[in-house]
């Protein structure tokens, strides 16, 4: 009854537009996540490049995927580290001290 009254008075609480917006937001995350393999490859290359600045990684064993379930889309990367680069770990020490 209270909801009816507040609806009659145009209160936002019962609005269906916010439901529409939230549903759209979710569905568009899914729609837009279906990106081309070429773009995914480019992203993978860029990511490897950046990480390689800091550590040596095993590129052959690298896993890289867009995972989707009902509620969200996640970029999941499993990147085996072979070794850390010495110069960066030294810099890290300096920053910490």
């Amino acid at each position: 009854m209270l909801e009816f009254i507040s609806r009659m008075l145009g209160r936002e609480s019962a609005s269906s537009k916010s439901v529409a917006k939230e549903r759209l937001r979710l569905v568009l995350v899914h729609d837009r996540a279906s990106i081309s393999p070429a773009m995914l490859n480019k992203l993978r290359e860029d990511l490897v490049k950046v990480i390689s600045n800091y550590m040596e990684i095993d590129e052959a064993a690298l896993e890289f995927n867009l995972c989707q379930d009902d509620r969200e889309v996640a970029l999941v990367a499993n990147i085996p580290v072979v070794k850390m680069k010495r110069d960066y770990s030294a810099k890290g020490q300096e920053l910490n001290s």
Partner: protein, 264 residues
């Protein structure tokens, strides 16, 4: 050299054909030489919206396949001597034309007209690819519904992938009273999601049904709210800056009551 503008949406039934007819008629009314091209092969409708269904002899497929010359297929409008229609074929399907043929046709139209307005079919298959092939600009029509906004988002992605940058948005069939009570997404909600430039908002208006019944685009009806919206869109397409229409719902008894008891 003229300009080719494609009117598209992804979802069907959001008002592409009505929008094309009104923009085309509006541009012609402002003195431009305009051709409207119906690319919805197999489901042609632009002819009836314009009231020209009885005059069709040749169609788009006749032109692209060389059965007739372009001039023979163009139908002159009843009201404006500077407005023409190139109708779609009704007995063939979308594969009867290919994007290359459309590009050639659009070049030919641009040499002859100030504006060519392409009415795109619903969907994202060959009909869509044909319609956008020769276009310089795109207008995306969308209604304030989840399904229409979702499809518009997909279409915008596809347009940008085919080098049709900066498509402009028309929000069609907005119902200000529903927006006001929070039961319909408003202009800013939709712009938030689609993130493209707005070129017009057309309110839901019964006069559209009446004008379609008669085959006379609402843009010529000075008493129609939707007609006014289309007149403004036409001006923006010509590059003029025009403010959005005021679509506020007049203050009613309920508003005054709310104010009285301190709810707003």
């Amino acid at each position: 050299m003229g300009e080719v503008i494609v009117v598209t949406s992804g979802k069907g039934g959001v008002g592409k054909t009505t929008t094309s007819a009104n923009i085309g008629t509006g541009l012609a009314n402002n003195g431009h030489k305009v051709v409207l091209v119906d690319t919805d092969i197999g489901l042609r409708n632009l002819d009836v919206v314009l009231g020209l269904e009885n005059r069709i002899v040749y169609d788009l497929v006749d032109v692209t396949s060389g059965n007739c010359r372009l001039k023979q297929a163009l139908i002159k409008d009843k009201r404006f001597t500077n407005l023409f229609l190139l109708p779609a074929a009704q007995t063939k399907d979308k594969t009867a034309v290919n994007p290359e043929q459309m590009r050639t046709l659009c070049q030919e139209l641009k040499a002859e007209f100030d504006y060519a307005i392409i009415d795109c079919p619903a969907g994202i298959e060959q009909g869509f690819r044909n319609a956008i092939a020769g276009a310089d600009r795109a207008v995306v029509v969308c209604t304030p519904e989840v399904s229409a906004v979702r499809d518009a988002d997909r279409i915008i992605g596809l347009l940008e992938a085919s080098e049709l940058r900066n498509p402009k948005l028309i929000i069609n069939r907005l119902r200000p009273a529903m927006v006001k009570r929070g039961d319909m997404m408003d202009i800013s909600d939709i712009l938030d999601i689609l993130a493209i430039e707005l070129i017009g908002v057309v309110p839901e208006d019964e006069s559209i049904v009446v004008s379609t019944n008669r085959g006379e685009p609402a843009v010529m009806d000075l008493g129609s709210q939707a007609g006014e919206a289309y007149r403004r869109i036409t001006k923006r397409i010509q590059g003029e800056e025009v403010p959005l229409m005021n679509l506020e719902v007049p203050k009613g008894l309920m508003d005054r009551l709310k104010k009285l008891i301190g709810l707003s």
